[in-house]
Amino acid sequence: MSECETIDEEIKENIQNIVVFMCNECGQGSANTAGIARMAYEPAVRIVRVQCTGQVGPIQIMDALNNGADAVACVGCCIGACHFFNGNLLSMHRIKLMKKLFKELGYSDQFINQYTSRAAEGETAVGDFEDIVERLAKAIKEEGTIKDGC
């Protein structure tokens, strides 16, 4: 194994807590499907079930980050498929502004993300989790963790 890969592995091992808010419909549904199919997913992910990602705002995200989360993500329904009205879109708007705020503060914008998944396909949720960890590891390698600034 080359030196570079060792560092990557180390960073990934140090990622212990990723809070993922999953909506009760598609998000949690797809995680359930993944569970039924016995698919393995990232051990760092901590799922918080919410009724709709529209319930998740900057306050909840900052609470998670201030209390030790390495990163926060939302997983909601696909665009246009929100089981309420447009909760996933509103949440995306807020998270996009938070990403910009983190950039303005000089941090990577990968500490916060939003994904979508399909309830019938477990691999969408598992793939989202993998993507979260990969992006976070890359961001930490380049710019350090968010805890460096607290």
């Binding site: 900057p58 708007h93 600034g149």
Partner: protein
């Protein structure tokens, strides 16, 4: 009652306002402009104004050990204030409450002297009314299609937010300065909730629900995800920090910024802000030179971009400048009567002590009912990229109107 006013770092605006305490005969007031050199003695009330840096901790300790009651006066002391925007660039401005738990806060930029007097007299602060409840504009909270950065409206009944101007009035208490009366959306200097900036950000994220936002295909999840690239949404709010966290950055729960600092707190406050917000910011932190600083900044831009200024505007501006000279005289002589008379005159023209009414090309709100407002009304101006220089002030802006560099020599 022995009252001592301690001024730490910052613009002195709140410190000068405390001159008005002298009008109260029950109080024995003393002003201390350099707390480091203060020889400790017992006192009843210590009023602290100005922002606090780590090297002020000893002085704070000294004050804490010798006073029965401590009051933080003005946003710089209570929540970090406008200067704390420099925390974005790694500075460490500390709100007093983090150092002393037993402190009474009088928020506001400028802090309200009436509130300070009642707190000194041991009364509870009254009136938790929100700014919206006393605003003449009414909100519908419909989704916005776009954000307007510069203000030019005749509508006096619709909420700023519904018209596309970001106003933080939702989280603010009703106040004396009332920027909203001078066509200036609130920036939330008197928050009534904790972590007001974060809450406002959430609120606006929702309000901007109709603005286009980019998504991208996620390879691993095989579904859509929120894109990292810039889109209409991020373009429409170029300076989130300056809009929502203008007075509360250290208490907002956000990590301390690590943007490269220019080394100077004053410059760091300005860098990253928007050109149309600059007059209000200089008005806030200029202290007793705020008028000349604001006008210089405005006139530099007007001259370079050939923005026409009417005779009436010039007349009012000159009046303001002469009032500033009076103000400096009043503060250096510690003359509360003259200070009161001068500030009243300034408030009449500039709206409030934050100069909300002063703007590029004219004034935002009618000053005198007998005059034709059109002759000195400000209009939407073009944002032109470039470097602007005029004697003591130099600044450059990028095509979006974000300040890239600034130097202010006077102070």
């Amino acid at each position: 009652m022995d009252v001592k006013i301690f001024q730490f770092n910052g613009c002195n605006k709140c410190f000068y306002e405390t001159l008005l305490l002298n009008l109260d005969e029950n109080m024995n007031i003393e002003f201390i402009s350099s707390p480091q050199d203060w020889k400790p003695e017992n006192l009843d009330v210590a009023v602290i104004s100005g922002y606090i840096l780590p090297f002020d901790l000893d002085s704070i300790q000294k004050i804490q050990n010798n006073s029965k009651k401590i009051i933080a006066y003005g946003d710089c002391t209570t929540t970090g204030g406008i200067f704390a925007l420099a925390n974005q660039k790694g500075h460490q401005i500390i709100p007093l409450k983090e150092l002393i738990s037993d402190v009474t806060n009088v928020n506001g930029c400028l802090g309200e002297i009436e509130e300070l007097i009642s707190v000194i007299n041991g009364e509870e602060l009254q009136g938790n009314k929100s700014l919206c409840s006393v605003c003449r504009r009414k909100a519908t909270c419909d989704y916005l299609d776009s954000v307007n950065r510069q203000i030019e409206i005749d509508d006096e009944e619709t909420c700023f937010n519904d018209l596309g101007f970001l106003c933080n009035g939702f989280i603010a208490k009703k106040c004396k300065e009332r920027c909203i009366d001078f066509n200036t959306p609130c920036r939330g200097c008197k928050p009534m909730v904790e972590r007001s900036g974060i809450r406002m950000l959430g609120m606006f994220g929702t309000l901007l629900g109709n603005v286009e936002m980019a998504t991208e295909h996620s390879e691993k999840g095989a579904t859509d995800k929120l894109a990292d690239a810039d889109d209409d949404l991020t373009e429409s709010v170029p300076d989130i920090l300056g809009n929502f966290f203008r007075f509360t950055l250290p208490t907002s729960g956000l990590p301390r910024g690590r943007v490269q600092s220019s080394g100077n707190i004053l410059q760091d406050v300005f860098i990253g802000r928007l050109i149309e917000e600059l007059p209000l910011i200089t008005g806030l932190l200029g202290g007793n030179k705020s008028i000349s600083l604001t006008l210089k900044l405005i006139e530099t831009y007007e001259k370079a971009n050939n923005i026409e200024v009417s005779k009436q505007t010039k007349k009012y501006r000159n009046e303001l400048l002469s009032l500033e000279a009076d103000l400096i005289e009043a503060t250096s002589n510690e003359d509360p009567q003259k200070y009161k008379a001068t500030t009243e005159k300034i408030r009449k023209i500039a709206g409030n002590m934050n100069l909300s009414n002063v703007y590029f090309g004219g004034f935002k709100q009618k000053i005198d009912d007998g005059e034709d407002f059109e002759s000195y009304k400000c209009h939407i101006f073009e944002i032109v990229e470039g470097a602007y220089k005029n004697g003591s002030i130099t600044y450059s802006i990028d095509p979006k109107g974000v300040v890239k560099e600034i130097t202010i020599k006077e102070r």
